[in-house]
C-alpha cells in the first residue's frame, strides 16, 4: 500500500487524474469538452470559485491541473449535478470534482484546517467506526478541528435543536461493522492491483 502511494506521487497528478476519470463509465467524454461554459453558467456556486468548472477543463488541457486542485473550486462543488445533466458533450463534471477532491487529499494539497476536507474526513472516520453517521459527533469534532471558538456562536441554534429533540446524542453502531471492515481491507488489498479506480486514501 505504502509503495503504491509513493508510486502514485511520482506520477503526475494529470496522469493519475486521467486514468481514474477514464475508468468511470462515460469518463472519456471529458475529451469532448467544447469549452461552451454551460457548466459554469449552471453552477450555483461558480460565482465564488477561483476557477469555474469550464476553467477546470481548460486548466487540465493546459497542464495546470495542480492549480485547480489547490484552489477553492473543488470544495465549493455541492454535488448538485446541474453541470452534469446540462453538459452538451456528456462530461460528468460532478465526478470530475469528486476525483479532484480525492487527489487534493491524496497529494496533500489541502490546508490542515480547511473546513471541507476536514468534515469529509471526519465523516469517513465516523462511518468506518460505526457504520452510521452521528451528526453530533461530526459537528463537535469538526468545530474542534477547525475553529473551537466559533463553536460558541453555534450554541444557540444547537441548543434550540437539542431542546426540540432534533439532535440525537446516542451514536448507533451497526452489527455488521466488523464484517464491513473485512470488506474494506479487501478493497485496500485489491487497490494495490488496480491502480486508478483503486485509489484509496487514508483519512
Amino acid at each position: 500500500m505504502l509503495q503504491t502511494q509513493q508510486e502514485s506521487k511520482e506520477r503526475s497528478i494529470t496522469d493519475v487524474f486521467l486514468e481514474d476519470i477514464y475508468s468511470i463509465p462515460g469518463g472519456e467524454k471529458i475529451k469532448e469538452c467544447i469549452q461552451c461554459g454551460t457548466c459554469s453558467a449552471s453552477c450555483a456556486t461558480s460565482y465564488a470559485m477561483d476557477y469555474t468548472p469550464r476553467e477546470v477543463i481548460a486548466a487540465l488541457r493546459a497542464g495546470l491541473l495542480d492549480r485547480v486542485v489547490k484552489s477553492n473550486t473543488i470544495w465549493l462543488c455541492s454535488s448538485c449535478y446541474y453541470c452534469t445533466v446540462r453538459c452538451p458533450a456528456g462530461v460528468k463534471l460532478t465526478d470530475v470534482m469528486y476525483e479532484l477532491k480525492r487527489l487534493a487529499v491524496e497529494f496533500g494539497y489541502v490546508e490542515k484546517r480547511a473546513k471541507a476536507p476536514v468534515v469529509s474526513k471526519l465523516f469517513v472516520d465516523i462511518v468506518d467506526k460505526n457504520g452510521r453517521i452521528s451528526e453530533v459527533e461530526l459537528v463537535s469534532k469538526f468545530m474542534m478541528k477547525t475553529n473551537p471558538f466559533a463553536a460558541l456562536s453555534m450554541m444557540p441554534r444547537a441548543w434550540k435543536l437539542f431542546r426540540r429533540g432534533r439532535m440525537p446524542l446516542m451514536p448507533h453502531r451497526i452489527k455488521g461493522v466488523e464484517e464491513l471492515k473485512k470488506s474494506a481491507s479487501t478493497i485496500e488489498e485489491l487497490s494495490g492491483l488496480h491502480a486508478g479506480t483503486g485509489k484509496t486514501v487514508e483519512a
Binding site: S78, S79, R157
Partner: protein, 279 residues
C-alpha cells in the same frame, strides 16, 4: 436530525397501506462526503445496503435524495463497469455478502405518487388544506443526475402530489436549485446565499410555506433563517414542512404525531388558519 421526517413518513405510509420494513442493519450511504475522500470504499458501503436488500428480495425505498443518488450511482456504475463490479463483489464476499444487481432504489415521494396514486390518496383526505400556498422544493439529487424520478430540471411530481391533497403549489422557479448542502458547514457565506435565494423566491411567488423532500434541505432552509436574516438584513420567515407532514395533515393526523412541533419557524398559526375538517 430528521425525527419529524421519520415519524411523518411512517404515519403516512401506514395510512396508505405502504408496508415499509426497515432494512436490517443498514449502514450510512456515505453521501457526498465519503465519495470526496475514497472512491471504491464509497461504492462498497452503498453496495452493502443493496446486497442486504437483495438478500431480503426487496427494493430499497429512501426518504433522502442523497441516499437515492448515492445508492443508484453505485447500482449503475457496478452494472456498467465490470472491473468495479468484480472488485466490489470480492470485497462483499469477505463479509459473506453478494450483490447481483437486482435492487431498485426509489424515493418515497415517487412511490407514493406512482404506486399509491391519485385516487387512493384523495380518498383518504379528511382535512382540507384549501388555499394553502406551498412552494414545492425538490433540490438537487432527487432528479439529478439520473432523471429517473422526474425531469432533471423541471420536475412536477411534488406539484402534482400537493394539488392532490388540496394545497396550492405556487410557481417556484428555483424548485430544483441547490440549497448548498454541506456548504452551510464548510463555506457558510455561500450556503447562506443559496438558502436566502430559495427563501426569497418562495416569498416572492406568494408561498406561505415550503415543502421539502430532503432532510438536509430542510435543515438549511428551516434552521438557518435567523442567520440568513442577520447576514443579509432581510426578514425572511417561512415555515418549512416535509411533504409527508403535509400529506399527514390532509389525512387528519395531529401536528404532534407528524413531528410538527419541533420547528424553529413555527407553522402553527398558518396551519390553524388553513386546516379545516371536511369529514
Amino acid at each position: 436530525m430528521n425525527k419529524a421526517y421519520d415519524k411523518s413518513a411512517r404515519v403516512v405510509c401506514e395510512a396508505l397501506g405502504v408496508d415499509l420494513a426497515e432494512l436490517n442493519d443498514w449502514n450510512c450511504c456515505g453521501a457526498s462526503a465519503y465519495m470526496s475522500i475514497r472512491e471504491l470504499r464509497a461504492h462498497l458501503i452503498s453496495a452493502r445496503n443493496l446486497a442486504l436488500a437483495e438478500k431480503e428480495k426487496k427494493d430499497l425505498v429512501v426518504v433522502c435524495p442523497a441516499c437515492l443518488t448515492t445508492l443508484t450511482k453505485t447500482n449503475h456504475y457496478m452494472a456498467e463497469n465490470p472491473r468495479l463490479k468484480k472488485t466490489i463483489s470480492t470485497a462483499l464476499k469477505a463479509a459473506n455478502l453478494q450483490y447481483y444487481g437486482s435492487v431498485k432504489v426509489r424515493h418515497l415521494l415517487e412511490v407514493i405518487v406512482n404506486d399509491v396514486g391519485e385516487n387512493e390518496i384523495k380518498s383518504r383526505i379528511k382535512t382540507s388544506l384549501k388555499d394553502l400556498k406551498v412552494a414545492p422544493y425538490y433540490g438537487c439529487q432527487l432528479t439529478r443526475p439520473f432523471g429517473e424520478v422526474d425531469d432533471p430540471e423541471f420536475p412536477t411530481i411534488l406539484d402534482k402530489l400537493l394539488s392532490w391533497i388540496g394545497a396550492k403549489p405556487v410557481n417556484y422557479p428555483l424548485k430544483a436549485k441547490c440549497c448548498g448542502g454541506m456548504l452551510m458547514m464548510t463555506k457558510e457565506d455561500v450556503g447562506l446565499e443559496l438558502t436566502k435565494n430559495l427563501l426569497a423566491c418562495a416569498k416572492e411567488n406568494g408561498a406561505e410555506c415550503i415543502a421539502t423532500i430532503c432532510p438536509l434541505c430542510h435543515m438549511n432552509l428551516e434552521a438557518y433563517q435567523d442567520n440568513v436574516n442577520k447576514h443579509f438584513g432581510t426578514d425572511l420567515k417561512i415555515p418549512i414542512l416535509y411533504f409527508t407532514q403535509l400529506i399527514g395533515l390532509a389525512f387528519g393526523f395531529s401536528r404532534k404525531s407528524l413531528g410538527i412541533d419541533d420547528e424553529l419557524t413555527p407553522s402553527k398559526a398558518l396551519l390553524e388558519k388553513h386546516l379545516e375538517v371536511v369529514r
